[in-house]
């Protein structure tokens, strides 16, 4: 490492430490006195910090300006129990051989509708692609050559890339096209999340000035009611994580966390308006819905109140 690098590194460490109550101000003074370059480096780091602070609250990447859908980029992940992608691909192939549900692409004209209750459902497509439909979700497949799907709720898509067709998935107010290969979609109440685990997709909406291309490791959170679309990086291991019974959130609005808990943990929780925009980051295990809620309330320092129709989160008094 060069001298300059080392100095910047030290400056960054001092900058972070300066927030501590037990910051060593004497040590910092001596460090500054030791070399004039230290001062310059510290200035630069502190200015960078100030610029970041000024950006607070303006994370929106694409401003959809008006009403409807918003896509939020979440992190969910692929933390599979055994074996990772390869196992997954194997499963997909196995599923199509065993014919969990094969949709003949050319013959039928009625759309096929798949609706799940509290369990997931694997839908195998004729070309070897597959969709794992989340609990309490609904997938409609229009059975024409072009293959159109519509999703409400959540699904993990593993789609064979075929440039000769134009597969399109409608989810909430967005359309997902140009698809290959593995991605997760969650569509609920005007919010749509798309996260790409492998390959890339394109996401378009009337509310977006232009389509957004998402590549591996990127997620989009689209919020129709607020007119925002946010693209952010997503950990590979977080994408489609619901498949292994976990949900990982990165600065996700509580409304969205609540919707996911309802779908994946089977618990209903309502939120007062004041909490709807609070952000949550962290992982929840969804096997036991009530435990997940308790974890959430503790991590956020909120009060969990049990009512007649489920739970309610409230500000601690």
């Amino acid at each position: 490492m060069s001298d300059d690098d080392r100095i910047i590194e030290q400056a960054a460490a001092w900058h972070v430490a300066s927030e501590r109550d037990d910051m060593d101000w004497d040590g910092f003074t001596q460090w500054l006195e030791a070399d004039p370059r230290h001062r310059t480096a510290y200035d630069e780091v502190a200015l960078a910090g100030a610029l970041v602070d000024e950006c607070r609250g303006s994370q929106v990447v694409v401003d959809t300006a008006e009403a409807e859908p918003r896509v939020v980029a979440l992190r969910r992940s692929a933390g599979r129990v055994a074996g990772g992608w390869q196992t997954w691909a194997g499963l997909a192939i196995a599923a199509s051989l065993v014919a969990v549900m094969v949709v003949p692409q050319f013959l039928k004209s009625d759309p096929a509708i798949y609706q799940t209750g509290s369990a997931t459902r694997q839908v195998a497509l004729a070309d070897g692609s597959s969709v794992l439909l989340a609990p309490h979700s609904r997938l409609t497949i229009e059975d024409d050559r072009q293959m159109r799907m519509a999703l409400t709720g959540g699904a993990w898509f593993d789609i064979r890339h075929d440039p000769s067709r134009s597969l399109e998935i409608a989810a909430g107010d967005v359309r997902i096209t140009d698809i290959g290969t593995k991605f997760d979609v969650q569509a609920d109440k005007g919010q749509v999340r798309v996260e790409v685990g492998e390959g890339a997709v394109q996401v378009a909406s009337q509310a977006l000035a232009q389509p957004i291309r998402l590549t591996r490791g990127r997620g989009l959170l689209f919020d129709g009611s607020r007119g925002t679309a946010l693209v952010s990086p997503v950990q590979d291991t977080d994408i489609g994580e619901w498949r292994s019974g976990r949900l990982t959130f990165d600065s996700a609005p509580l409304t969205l966390v609540a919707a996911d808990l309802a779908r994946y943990a089977g618990v209903n929780v309502t939120l007062p308006d004041a909490l709807r925009d609070r952000r949550f980051s962290g992982s929840l295990v969804v096997g036991d819905g009530e435990a997940a809620l308790r974890d959430l309330s503790q991590l956020m320092d909120l009060e969990l109140v049990r009512g007649p129709d489920g739970y309610r989160l409230e500000q601690r008094r």
Binding site: T29, D43, E44, A48, G49, E54, S232, Q235, D250
Partner: protein
Amino acid sequence: MGSDNTETSGNETSGSGDWLTGIFESHRGELLRFLTARCGDREEAEDLLQELWIKASGQPADPIANGRAYLFRMANNLVLDQRRARQRAMARDHNWLEAEGQMADVPEKRPDPALPADETIVKQQEAELVRQAIAALPPGAQKALRLHRLEGLGQAEVAQVMGISRSGVEKHLAVAMKHLRNALADCGLIAPVASKEKKAIRGGEPRKDTGT
């Protein structure tokens, strides 16, 4: 009160106003030394020390705070505020000149440089660059930074959310700050302000400064 007490403090009491000024007096020497080291300029440090005293005397009493650390932090922030104002002035000049150059042949489209709209554009551009820089951070550092600086969680809360130690959070944040400094310096958002230039700016209008 006042007196020479304590670094760990918390117990320097008295009515508002005097609370910090007493501590200020007993640490005046250290504070001046710090400001001098921080600014690299004795005269400027003395000015800032003066400003610090004024701020401290207006500060309501806070019985829990560590007064000495509080003053150092205030001093450190004063220097930063000044640096920011200087950067801002330089960016404005730069932008103004650029706009002037580009728009010269279409006078009716030339924005009035005095308009705040100019500033808005500068800020938008900055925000975009900062966002890009944040997006390029390594995952752990990025997450810690977002939670801490954008979501406003304290370092201890960040540690809890991320399931790592407090010092782990500090390491992530330091990595983030280092990367951000490098990225933002590369795109010219933070230019080092040399001592002589800053003299010129301090004197009067920023507009006449050099360098752009």
